[in-house]
Point group: C2
Chain length 637, copies 2
């Protein structure tokens, strides 16, 4: 308990939840980091497609590929601000689809989003590790370990509660945005003034992704452009985070969420557009162990009095990517909370922890993301094909859901608004197709396969809860209340040997039943005879039953005995089985006593009309707080 | 359960235990493998001390160093046969020391033996792995994994039961003894007939332990001889195994055990003496990755039509070493069983499993030996310094204990017998000193440090059990029997919401108490008000108490409430807290229901006068075997 408090801080009261909400100023960094941080790898992904085929020609084409991506970003931001307007409880695409398209489309969205959030964590943290290892190449061989440490730190931060997370994560995001802005402005200015020139690479570069630097623009094709476009679309992930987390904002939460969404859009267009321009101007070739941004920063700040800025960029690139992972920690637990309340995921996701964070959802991300990082060796480029698809499926269904919403409600201005969502739906649908076609073989198939599996799981969970709920339903008390009375239950006291714990159990049994049996299960006939003799001599006024078994295992004969007893029960009658649990002062002393209590209890819970009554016997009679001794001395003898 | 049966076989009856005992023919391989198998490394350990200092001179000295070791073996065998005569219940050195020297010396013996047994497993399995990797050098890098697989296989074999172990393990031991005998006879014959000549090594051998092959006999000193002697003493371990396991033999168990002990001695003198002679004759230098025995076998059977014997020797060397590890699996669980009955180790070691083997003791060996193998990288030579000390401490104390035994009993022939044990005690005492002095820095210090720690643990365990036993003692029933009557216990039904599981609990509570309260712990005042309204409308004839808490955690307010209730209890009164446990048909469905039952139970067991009554609620009312439905329909309405 002490260690837990140290890591997680003091528990919070329920009423503290209001003060845990996000203002605009803190909401921007928490929500923006995902979208903004993609600058760190989205440009590189475009160049990784183009440069091996068209060589230097890539740098003329890359900005053109970026334009439709930025256009799509604008459409999405306007579309999603309409979602926020009408879905104040968060859940974003899921809520929209559920209401407007029904159960199955909403489950497709839910599963897509879950996978997208998890991939956000895995990709961002891996990319953060790449930023660090670009600056300190000696660390490359430890990248999986570094990535896992990052995930663990984010997890702990989030378990501590929402507001503290915002405080930890807000300032670095601002510094990143600011320093990237400086890099773009300084870089483009120096380039314009011919103070820096395009990078050149040695003829043989061991770090190069391709050695064929002489490839020409002849290889340019529509297929290649679409492939580059689909790779660059990772820059759009994260836009939906705001709409999913509306209730996390301070009141008026819808207004604040929308403002944050617009700011996010502005920042992203500037940083992504600017950095692609700069990368193209400087002819940056993607390399294996040094990121593109690292090469740009190194070039832009070379030979200036502020060359330390290179390390600032690397450090805060890593930080903002870690915070991007944090977006998933804000968004996914809320989504799981909503799904839990709709009975589609285990109910454990529907509770807040002592720190008012959704602890189970947070631990879920931690485990799955860690496994992905280990599985893919913390290699961003290998994970990218699994990313993006999820979010584009949810974009498409969400926009289509909004189209249906306008058609249904015909609210004021619907003719204008339906166009926005309609264009959004169409563009994202086409885009989803392009991404699946281009990335399927590279890994997208895993997501396409996982979606129906996860959906089947959700449907299973939902059916189970419906069934269980129906079994529990109670509308009429009087009709079902039994007409039994006190003393109508039987009692079995499980005995190991004649000792004070047995006495305590017998004294208790006397208060709850008139029909008590002491039961002993025995492996040795001689021992049984001895016990019988001792029993008779002590004149204990309760019958002793001994079950003899030739086997070591006593569970089976015990179970058989209970079935036989249960079969003879009258209507409404129960059997209480009293099992002693030995309690010591210290947990390590408990290990010296074989705690078979729970084995018995688990076996007994198969029996509907049998309860397991666990009777604590404390070895230290003076330690427990108030209350009389368990070995009751006769009062007046 | 099915997988367990497949691995471990069907459970055995208690009465099967007699037929599980060892005959002479099966007892020899089971008990001898430890002592005999040391041939595989004891000679090598002597040469590893001598050759780096005196070079080829080592081969003149090694047989001389071996002589006192064989003499000691004879003394020990005679001494231990006297132990078997007088201690038919096994436990060997431990029983002797306990009876004749008292508690603390016997604990020194117990801890020493425990460590020696475990080291036997670690050393033997590592040496077995070396035999395999000598023949197949490609496997060297996987030696830790191979060693761990061996330990796992031995563990499974032993969990299956004693007799089956003997059957699995007996034949290979005989083949080993037989083929080693052939090797010695063929080798010495060929050497005598000049059909083979001493081995020569290239000037630079990457496998050599030392490159200084030119070292001369000038380096010879008494210290070196003592060092070599102490290294060779590993050959003596395993002699005590027979005396520890007397009850495992068929009746007459003492006679059979002694016969096995004598046979063991004869075999060991022949194999150990013979192989040292052969190694010296062939001038075998110890190498890093090829064992000495492997070099000998390769030389002896070279250029013959039975050169396949090399592989036979390697295979059965590995097998007998694995079986040597098995000796510890026969001996240590019996020792732990005796210690458990003396209350010096946790009682869990005092029970046999369903297969009549001491499962807990076996698992204990498995875990500790595996950790040692991982820690020492399965390197026999690095573990040897930790080995041998334990067994020599127990030899010394056991022999001294027998001296005291003769002095006390003055049995027929004591004047003669006391000399045997006296000489044994003196020789092993001196030897223990030599071993500690020579091996302390190399690793023996770990054992010297571990002995008092383990002893302190045993004393702690003993005190705890004495204390607990005293708390439980019950000699007089009437004086302590309480004068309470039925209905004198109160009942609290823990409620989450109004549903059929609550109804079932209430129906049960009616049969055990006249004073029932329904308790609900709530975080939201609005929810509390709603619940109260629902309660009143249903007209349930039991008072509802609602505890409101501002925190997420409901354990603390629940605990406080129970303390308050407990403080008001009358003398002899109990509170039964009824907690519903939801039971589904499948374990995976159980995961969908947060099982807080055990958290509640653990908290409640702090309260001496409070019992936790776990009421199973089955979601599937048609599945359970007989018995009426839990939602009791009124019988006649």
């Amino acid at each position: 308990m002490k260690i837990k408090d140290l890591i997680l801080g003091k528990p919070l009261k329920n009423s503290d939840i209001a003060s845990e909400k996000l203002s605009k100023a803190w909401g921007l960094p928490v929500m923006a980091s995902d979208a903004v941080s993609s600058v760190a790898y989205a440009g590189e992904e475009i160049l990784l497609v183009l440069t091996p085929v068209v060589g230097l020609g890539a740098f003329g084409v890359a900005p053109l590929v970026t334009l439709p991506i930025l256009l799509l970003l604008v459409v999405l931001i306007i579309s999603y601000s309409q979602v926020i307007d009408h879905y104040p409880l968060g859940g974003g695409a899921y809520s929209v689809t559920k209401e407007n398209l029904g159960k199955y489309p909403s489950l497709i969205v839910a599963t897509s989003l879950i996978m997208d959030y998890i991939m956000t964590v895995a990709v961002s943290v891996s990319s953060a590790t790449a930023a660090i290892t670009s600056a300190f190449p000696a660390l490359i061989e430890h990248r999986v370990l570094i990535a896992l440490i990052f995930v663990a730190l984010i997890t702990i931060g989030n378990l501590r509660g929402i507001r503290e997370s915002a405080r930890i994560f807000g300032i670095p995001t601002y510094i990143f945005i600011f320093s990237m802005g400086i890099m773009i402005i300084v870089g483009l200015s120096r380039f314009a003034m011919h103070s820096i020139s395009p990078l050149t690479y040695p003829a043989f570069n061991p770090n190069a992704v391709t050695q064929d630097f002489s490839a020409s623009a002849a290889g340019l094709s529509l297929a290649l452009l679409l492939h580059a476009f689909s790779s660059g679309c990772t820059a759009l992930t994260g836009v939906e985070a705001v709409s999913n987390a509306v209730p996390s904002f301070k009141s008026p939460s819808q207004h604040n969420a929308k403002m944050v969404l617009y700011m996010l859009g502005g920042v992203n267009i500037f940083l992504f557009g600017g950095s692609i321009l700069l990368e193209s101007a400087l002819h940056v070739m993607p390399l294996k162990n040094v990121t593109v941004i690292s090469q740009v920063a190194s070039a832009v700040f070379s030979n200036t009095w502020f060359s330390f800025m290179y390390y600032v960029i690397q450090l805060f690139t890593a930080l903002i990517l870690i915070l991007a992972a944090n977006t998933a920690y804000s968004g996914l637990p809320v989504l799981l909370y909503i799904l839990a309340h709709d009975n589609f995921v285990p109910r454990q996701f529907g509770h807040r922890g002592t720190k008012l964070s959704f602890s189970n959802g947070i631990m879920f991300i931690f485990i799955v993301a860690s496994l992905l990082i280990i599985g893919f060796g913390a290699d961003t480029h290998r994970m990218i094909p699994l990313y993006t698809i999820g979010v584009f499926i949810s974009f498409t269904l969400c926009q289509y859901g909004m189209v249906r919403f306008w058609l249904r409600t015909k609210e004021k201005g619907w003719r204008y608004k339906i166009w926005i969502n309609g264009i959004g739906a169409f563009m994202t649908l086409v885009d989803t197709g392009v991404i699946i076609a281009n990335k399927f073989v590279e890994g997208a198939w895993m997501i396409i396969l996982a979606i129906p599996i996860l959906m089947a799981f959700m449907i299973y969970v939902n059916r189970h809860y419906s069934y269980a709920g129906k079994q529990l339903e109670l509308n009429d008390f009087q009709n079902y209340h039994s007409d039994t009375a006190i003393g109508d239950s039987q009692c079995i006291v499980l005995m190991q040997s004649v000792n004070k714990s047995l006495l305590k159990s017998l004294n208790y049994a006397k208060t709850i039943s008139n029909n008590t049996t002491v039961l002993h299960i025995c492996r040795h006939p001689e021992h049984a005879a001895e016990l019988r003799k001792q029993w008779d001599s002590l004149q204990i006024p309760v019958p002793l039953e001994i079950v003899l078994t030739p086997y070591r295992d006593i569970m089976k004969p015990f179970d058989d005995y209970i079935w036989a007893r249960e079969a003879k029960l009258k209507h409404g009658e129960f059997v209480s089985v009293i099992i002693v649990k030995f309690v010591t002062d210290h947990w390590y002393d408990n290990m010296l006593h074989s705690q078979t209590t729970y084995f018995f209890e688990r076996m007994l819970s198969k029996h509907k009309n049998v309860t397991s009554t666990i009777m604590p016997f404390h070895y230290n009679p003076t330690d427990a707080k108030p209350a009389p001794d368990e070995a009751l001395p006769a009062k007046e003898k």
